[in-house]
Symmetry: C2
């Protein structure tokens, strides 16, 4: 299954196919110097399998976790490319989750002002979401994704086989973003979550999610407007994610929590049921002042008010300007209910 | 005089006018947070004059010289923007030469994946060349401009008044790039160098050079082909510039030397005369093995051969594939002649 991302000169294909990692050479130009970036949490056989298909492959493994999305590791990747005499015609491939893709993509965008970048996402979250759309970034000064570039990959290979080694909690983490996209944009996908077995439908869920994201990104590559709907759940979600002592929560888990207060009372019970089915949290107990501070020291905040995406009816959305304080009050009221 | 750079969504105006720095507020949106980046070699009254026109201006001064085009100072500029809570709607202004413009432009391109960038070049070299075209960069691992982004400014203000404080050698440094552009693209401009008084024609020289560069960049924004003619003289020039112990030579001085071997025997005497008039070197004594190594460990090299721009007749050019060794032999033969 090939999905074509239509972005003028920056267009590219996303190929979804079981076992595709073993056939990467047929789809990517690996007949040159290739920097393969992966992390210590990704099974090393994945990057090795790719390296074997390269004319001249170098694997660089960063430590697992957000801390690797740093200016320091950005510099290290550039150093490796320099040491290996990379020219403008060589390339970078990410083999890993969002951390690896964001970091490697930013390094590829900056080396000689941009060399080819391929992404082979290995987590459900990155297969569904972060591997496409061209947002690359590192964290800086305690702020997530504050430094980076809009830089589209030349191709994305999605191999659902790779998910077999993924821990169950990481599957839930990815499902959260798929539920998010279904809520704003695809009623049928949401109903699949409600009615069908999830595990046996993963490939279908990936493809539906990619098609939603494709349509949004094609209309708004540089996040000037529409693309904000992809941030549904992220205002409060980022606040939770960035809060001290809550670092043990995954991104998708935080986004799932962040979505709930942005849903109408009418649909919320259905959303809660789907989150339960995906093994995602529906409530949280924490210091809401800290969440507010973390949420609105965020790039999405704008003075005293913030534009949030809300969902009244499943498969549609409304942008709403809300006071930051009101957003937090709603979230608190909604998420402190432990009975759900 | 306004020159419009036509680059689709990335289009912008270059405004050339004496005294325009004092009227920047009328042309730039300074009614927001503004990071003004300058260096210790630029008269501080220039950045102050701009700051006074900003709603909320912060001046950051880097040390004069290439060493400031580093990952370290890139990080420092990002830190300053974070500390001052810069949002996507704020902006960066460069007030200085190429070092400041390249560094500040790259920081602007990366902060939140890109905020507005204005350039107010203060040297002849940057007014003629580096302030337009959208190539931003830092040096890394001993390599010039190896890390950066293609990122167009929102506006460029060129104030020829600012050149009054510029040392004579810096004027020569800028003239070298103007001579370079005239050789490949503008016979009339070259004849102006031959026949007219240079100092009293500076504004005319700036505008002619900008128009040449505009035309080249519009046709080839991302340096896929034609833009290589702007690198006329740069293959050997970069080699000289990057060579140990030759660091006291300015960029333009090196480019002037690099152009000579790429001119036909027929026109070379005329070029030598113009370089003399501009107070630029026409010969050099140095270890050519070192220059070769520095030149071809360069991103413009490609295996054993290199594509160079040559000029047979003034105002036109030819791309020529030459062996790297041959380029150096030609340069040596041509530039070791002290009599010129």
């Amino acid at each position: 299954m090939t999905i074509h991302m239509n972005l003028g000169n920056d267009s590219y294909d996303i190929v979804v196919e079981k076992g595709i990692l073993s056939k990467a050479r047929e789809l990517l130009n690996l007949n040159r110097r290739v920097l393969i970036v992966t992390d210590s949490g990704v099974p090393s056989e994945y990057s090795k399998k790719l390296s074997e298909q390269c004319k001249s492959g170098t694997i660089y493994t960063v430590p697992e976790g957000e801390a690797s999305k740093s200016l320091e590791y950005f510099g290290k990747l550039l150093e490796v490319m320099l040491e290996h005499n990379f020219s403008r015609k060589d390339c970078v491939v990410a083999v890993g989750g969002g951390v690896v893709g964001d970091l490697a993509g930013f390094a590829a965008s900056a080396y000689m002002r941009g060399i080819d970048f391929y992404n082979i996402p290995t987590t459900l979250l990155s297969q569904i979401d972060s591997s496409i759309g061209g947002k690359t970034a590192i964290n800086f000064g305690g702020m997530k994704n504050i430094v980076g570039a809009f830089y589209q990959p030349k191709k994305v290979l999605i191999d659902p086989e790779l998910l077999k080694t993924l821990p169950a909690r990481q599957i839930s983490n990815g499902l959260a973003e798929a539920v998010k996209m279904s809520l704003t944009s695809d009623k049928k996908l949401f109903e699949l979550f409600e009615k069908e077995d999830i595990e046996s439908n993963l490939e279908k869920i990936i493809i539906s999610s990619l098609n939603i994201k494709k349509s949004v990104v094609e209309q708004d590559e540089k996040e000037q407007g529409l693309r904000k709907i992809l941030n549904f759940g992220h205002t409060v979600g980022h606040g939770i994610e960035s809060s001290e002592n809550l670092t043990e929560l995954y991104h998708g888990e935080c986004v799932a929590l962040g979505m709930l207060p942005m849903c109408s009372e009418k649909i919320r019970p259905r959303v809660i049921e789907v989150l339960r089915k995906c093994n995602l949290f529906r409530s949280i107990e924490y210091d809401w002042d800290k969440i507010r501070e973390a949420a609105f020291h965020d790039k999405k905040a704008d003075g005293d008010t913030v534009t949030v995406t809300t969902v009244k009816e499943i498969g549609s959305f409304e942008l709403k300007v809300m006071k930051c304080t009101q957003v937090i009050e709603e979230a608190k009221r909604c998420l402190e209910d432990e009975s759900i």
